[in-house]
Amino acid sequence: MTPIVHALLLLIQKHFLNYLLTNKLKNKRKNMFKVIKRMTSFVAMVAMLFAFTTETMAAKKSKTLKNTQKKGFVRCGVSQGLPGFSNADASGNWTGIDVDLCRAVAAAVLGDANKVKFTPLSAKERFTALTSGEIDILSRNTTWTLSRDADIGLTFVGVNFYDGQGFMVRKSSGITSTSQFKNGISACTNIGTTTELNMRDFFNSRGISYEPVAFEKADEVVAAYDSGRCDTYTTDKSGLAAQRTKMKNPDEHMVLPETISKEPLGPVVRQGDSVWEDIVRWSLNVMIEAEEYGITSSNADSMKTNDNPAIKRLVGAEGELGAAFGLDNDWSLRIIKQVGNYGESYKRNIADTGILPDRGPNQLWTKGGILYVPPAR
């Protein structure tokens, strides 16, 4: 009920404002007429509002989904350039596993994986951009934590990369383990990240005094570390591996073996639109489950006649899975055909680019990893 009351208040306010603004210009008699006219239209609008709310409630359509379909593109927030996750090439084409998730949602709700508008965001800007409605999905190697999920109007929908924080040092420094860190070490990192907090926990628990140098943009951090301003560079290990490729001499640097934190990275949506939340969650789940069942972008069509009902459901040949979100039944088939399954996305973006050839925990649970998603049925 409260949203309706608020909307009503807003409407009254808007009308009153309009009335005041135009009042000064017109003479009295015309005004009386106008007031009556406005009041009738106001009553009509209130009536419409009630009718409208009950109608949309029943259709169970999400506001975000409706807006997206009206605009014709998915508004997706990504990083300012992290190879393997979200990175734009010289001609402005975005690639990466975070990018692929947005493409998957576009394929599901709009039918075309290319209908995505990417907004590069700094770590500091990302949540405000999402809560203020500038973007509809935040797919920007963002760590899922309790306070972020519960506190600031966000909902994490899943994990598309299991990561952990690590340290990078110069090979020439002779440091091969974090246990060799000494008092006075300076560490470069990004502001507004979990990294900043983990770093403190790490150094404090070991009683090492350190100089934190925190920049707003990842490129600035890399430049500062590369020039010798800092002795070590700390962020998520995948980020370290990716940023290493951007250094002047990548071979001169190494990532230390220790992992000091859990960093489950995943897409985020605004709180309060559960249908949209479900669409994004299941777009990711479909990609992972497709890999589990061996459905790829090239064999998806032929899988329609497969004997396994789980596979048939994923390619839209059985069941009515899309109806729950207000989508057609081929939504998941489009994701697999246009974007590919999780394994294809990983290989294309992270393994083949030499960032992290070994999938580590980001392997399917059936193959020794921890990727395990609820069944799509």
Binding site: F16, F127, I152, G174, K182, E196, R200, G228, R270
Partner: protein, 383 residues
């Protein structure tokens, strides 16, 4: 009656309009925050900040509250503004006077300096100093000492730390000498008005300022030792300096860029102020037998200051607000730490941006009030 309504009604409507606009924005924010399950409140200020800062003037640790982080970050902002204002004033006066010099070289280099530094965007200048100039400095292990005991390196400028004993006694002595100087000045003024005698005020003031605090060393048990920075090896190839005080390169770059940029505007204010005094004033003063120094001190400067102060106040305010560009080069100022990290960790965007805006407003109003007070003091007092 009708006239009265005509007079008041538009004003009333304007006020109502402004109130409604504010009301609308507040309600709009409330509705949207409600929908997204975001709470409004300042309770977060007492929570543990749990992030560290690179450079602080007071003791700060991640266990302290967000409120303390705010105070410490604010001090960092004030430090940059303070240093910037001092340096830009000194430099501005020198350049401004140089522009009026009769020497061709001095005059033209000053003019070039002004045109060069005031026409390049400030952010670019900050980037230049930080990413180009200071990055070209040597690594700690290769640094040559400056003045024997200080080291300028890519990791910052390392200077000896002062270790005081009985610092409070020294401070009391300093305060006492300052107060006595004020008394002596008042006495000298009276003496001059009554008997026409002039005391050598400058020498007396300097002597008091040196002798009284100096005595505290001899008799008050005050000692001052210096801790000299020593090269320390962190690993096979990385070094830093231990002991002493390290001024981070971020602070140096910011102060450099801010003071060089703002000094050009101050220089123009100074030039305008001096040129605004008519030649006749100087000639008249000379004709009553004042010396060159007296002319400058008693005739030219008091009048020129009246022209210089108000526009210079604007420049000081600009410098203070421009110091928020610190966020671009990792200097932990109010914007980077509070409106950056703290906002990110708490998600309280509206509260934190509100507090930050209010803070800058207060700093600016304070500086403006200070300068207005000074301006009032030096104003022509008509008797």
């Amino acid at each position: 009656m009708n006239n009265k309504i005509k007079r008041i009604l538009p004003q009333l409507l304007t006020v109502l309009f402004v109130v409604l606009i504010f009301g609308f924005f507040t309600l709009n924010a409330q509705v949207n925050m409600d929908n997204r399950g975001i709470d409004f409140g300042f309770g977060f200020l007492t929570q543990e900040a749990s992030f560290d800062m690179q450079f602080t003037l007071l003791d700060y640790d991640g266990q302290d509250s967000y409120l303390w982080a705010y105070v410490v970050a604010l001090l960092n902002t004030l430090l940059v503004s303070f240093l910037g204002i001092i340096f830009c004033s000194v430099l501005g006066v020198i350049i401004g006077v140089a522009r009026l010099s009769n020497n061709f070289l001095i005059k033209n280099s000053a003019a070039w300096y002004v045109e060069f530094f005031r026409n390049i965007p400030l952010l670019l200048q900050i980037f230049f100093w930080y990413y180009a100039a200071l990055r070209a400095l040597p690594l700690p292990e290769n640094a040559e000492p400056w003045f024997g005991v200080t080291y300028m390196t890519i990791k910052g400028y390392f200077i000896p730390a002062m270790i005081w004993e009985n610092l409070n006694i020294f401070v009391y002595c300093l305060l006492a000498s300052l107060i006595s100087i004020i008394f002596i000045r008042n006495y000298a003024k009276k003496l001059q008005e009554k008997e026409g005698k002039q005391l050598p005020l400058l020498y007396i003031s300097l002597a008091i300022l040196l002798i009284v605090p100096g005595l505290s060393f001899l008799a008050g048990g005050v000692t001052l030792n210096f801790e000299i920075p020593v090269l320390k090896q962190l690993s096979a190839t990385s070094y830093t300096y231990d002991g002493g005080v390290g001024l981070p390169p971020e602070l140096i770059a910011l102060v450099l860029a801010l003071s060089l940029y703002t000094s050009t505007f101050v220089a123009e204010c100074v030039r305008a102020g001096i040129q605004g005094i008519s030649k006749g004033q100087k000639e008249a003063a000379a004709s009553v037998g004042l010396t060159k120094n007296q002319i400058l001190k008693l005739v030219i400067m008091p009048q020129a200051l009246r022209i210089i102060i108000p526009p210079t106040t604007n420049q000081y305010l600009n410098l203070t607000k421009n110091s928020s560009l610190a966020a671009a080069i990792a200097y932990p100022d109010l914007v980077l730490v509070f409106a950056g990290t703290a906002m990110m960790q708490t998600g309280k965007a509206i509260e934190i941006v509100g507090i930050t805006m209010l803070t800058y407003l207060s700093i600016s109003l304070f500086i403006a009030a200070l300068m207005n007070w000074y301006n009032k003091r030096i104003e022509i007092k008509e008797k």
